[in-house]
Structure formats: structure tokens, C-alpha cells
Symmetry: C2
Subunit: 226 residues, 2 copies
Amino acid sequence: MKIGVLGTGTVGRTMAARFAGLGHDVTIGTRDPATTAARTEPDAMGNPPFSAWAAEHPEVKLGTFAEAAVQGEIVVNATGGVGSIDALTLAGADHLRGKVLLDIANPLDFSRGFPPSLSVKDTDSLGEQIQRSFPDARVVKALNTMTAGLMADPAQLAGGEHTTFVSGNDDAAKKTVTALLESLGHDDIIDLGDITTARGTEMIMPIWLRLFGALGTPIFNIKVVR
Amino acid sequence: MKIGVLGTGTVGRTMAARFAGLGHDVTIGTRDPATTAARTEPDAMGNPPFSAWAAEHPEVKLGTFAEAAVQGEIVVNATGGVGSIDALTLAGADHLRGKVLLDIANPLDFSRGFPPSLSVKDTDSLGEQIQRSFPDARVVKALNTMTAGLMADPAQLAGGEHTTFVSGNDDAAKKTVTALLESLGHDDIIDLGDITTARGTEMIMPIWLRLFGALGTPIFNIKVVR
């Protein structure tokens, strides 16, 4: 399948590499590919520059947000949540029309330091903002409740015995995403309902951040015991 | 142990009965005991009137918020979250001084219908508001992430194989609460840190409400797999 991944940070790289490893045809999109490709220093989080990652993943193509969106039959929003609407606008509403848009971002606002707050919450969500801004895209919120490594390869923790949520208005799009998630190793997938249920999953971030502090590792996830 | 439970709704009744069943000396507190005792009709949620419940639990004493606070060595806030500060003010700061105040409430605002929103969130929490309002109480937030039946008797689901969180500034108070929770059957208790971490647990409510809808039962809980 052709997959366009928007965002070249840790989440975008991790998902792009995993999809490529499963045989998908992946284009990773960024605002300015020349600038992204030219960086030689680690980013503010200490991640290696994109060029170092790209050298290890020659099968992943680099393009603009628009080129990744055009290329993808499924488009994955792995940009930082507070910049997602801008990035998707650059990707182009015309290029998102009718496509499954898998939104895995969280609207984390680091402007007041750590822990971040949420730029949207409770009575609205980033997932809903994206669906409203791009009404012809078929938005499915998923994977935003865990660290990137577990999004891509859940089986590395407890053999995958933990839970993944999907939210969205389009049942066929949720089926497509669910099949894709299963191919990654997610085996307890709960359909929460329409895109407004993204409020619930995005608001897991505050406890996730405190658990990260308390447990000292990001390699944990929620299992809904029932 | 002497336990004062503030609130005669489902949560307060369930916890009071469970504590009494374990042999504790329990007083349940309400704004106006005479009015509470005189009710003969089910409440808006369809719960039987207090008098019917009290007839089955003669070992639980009914008193004012203040009487329950005076009586309790541990005081449990099981009032509705948006009214908790008022109820605790009636209980009396003097009566809470130095005591462990186990806050199990959520700041759910039903004024705009269902699902409720949160009256405080993200950059503050009910737990913090209570600690600020009653600085001499030793506030511990816990149990607010699950339905009342599981708060009181977690072993009824998966033998208790799911997670309970504690947040608070006073380590000794958290130890007291942890021992009390273990006596109820909670066996995976994570200390998240100070009372600001209550932001994380209170913000679980939105996903809890959506899971309640998706699963069709309140008998579920989170397990932190790590």
C-alpha cells in the first residue's frame, strides 16, 4: 500500500520505517525537504539528524507535505499537534479528499515548559479540529495514547497484550485503519465511536506523562481490563 | 479504624458499606441528615432512597459533614466534584487538620448534558484545589479512575489485576491510603507523585465515559502494562 507520513520527528520516522519494513511504499513529508535533508546536527530532543536516519532507510522517500499526501492512499498525521492544521493545509485539502487520514498526533503545548498542557481538550479535540478543517478527509484518531516505539511495534511489550483505541465518523475508514493496526501487531483494538471520542484519548496524555515520570520509561501502555 | 465518608450518593454508600463490612467504624456525612433520611423516592439517577440503603446497613451511622469529619481518622471525599469544596467547608477545616483526606471525586460538570465536561483540568485539578483550600489536610487522590463497585471491591474484575493510582504531597498519608486500598483488594497501586499528578487521573474521566459507552458496562478498569 502507498502510505504518506507527514512529519519527520521521532513519531514520523518510527512509523515510516515500520511501514516500509512491512513492504509498504512510503513517502515521508516535511515542510521543506531540502532543509530537512541538509540538517547535520541532532535536534533539540537529541534525536539524530534526518539525514542519518534517511541513510539507514533508503527505501523511504522524502518529499513535501503535499507530495506525501498525493502519494499516500493512507495519509498519517505524525506532525506536532499544535502545528498539525498548518501542516495539513500545506499537504492540501484536495490531496486529502476521500482519503483515510490517520491522526496520531497530540495537541501538546510546551510553551510553558514541562509537563506540557493541551492546546485543545474536553469540549473539543485535535481530531475534531482536523475533521472540521478537512471535511472531505476520512479522519481516524488512533495510536496517540502510547510511545512511538509501541505504536509501530506493540508486540515488544507483553506480547502486544494492551489496548489501542480508534475514533472516527467513517466506519469503512476505521476498518481500514484497524486492519493496518493489526498488521503492526495491535490485537486489542477498541472502537470508541465517532471523532468526538478523540477527546478521551487525547486527554490520556496527562496521565501518560506522569506515568512516564513515575515509571522512568516510556515503554508502557494501557490495557482496558473488562 | 474510624472512617468518615462524605457524600450519600452511590460512591459514598458503596465505600461506606465496604468499609463497614471490613469492620471499620463508619459515619457517612451529608449536608442535612434529617432531609437525607426522610427521602422515600429514588433519586434522579434511579438509585433507591437513602433510607432504604440505611435499613440494610444499620452499622453505618448518618451525620452531618462535620460530624463525619470529626468522627473519621480518615475522611473520604465522595461528594460530587463540583460541590466538593462547599461540602468540605461544611465539614470544617478544623476537623480536617492533620487528617488523611482521601479524595475520590471527579469534577464532572453535567450542566451541558452528557457526556459531562470537567470543571477543572489540565493546568489544575480538584485534588489540588482541595489541598490549597485545606492546607492542613493531608490530601491523597485515588480511586477516581474507576466505577464505585470496583473502588470498593476490585477483585470482582479479573481477580483485581488492574491498576489504581495515588497522588499526594504527604508520603505518610499515601502509605496509609495504600494500605487501606490493599485491604480492599487493590494490588497494583502506582504512586504518581505529588498532588499535581491528580490532573492526570482526573483527565481519565473523558475516556472512561467513552469506554462506558463503547463497552456497555462500567465494570472495566485500566491496567498499566509495563
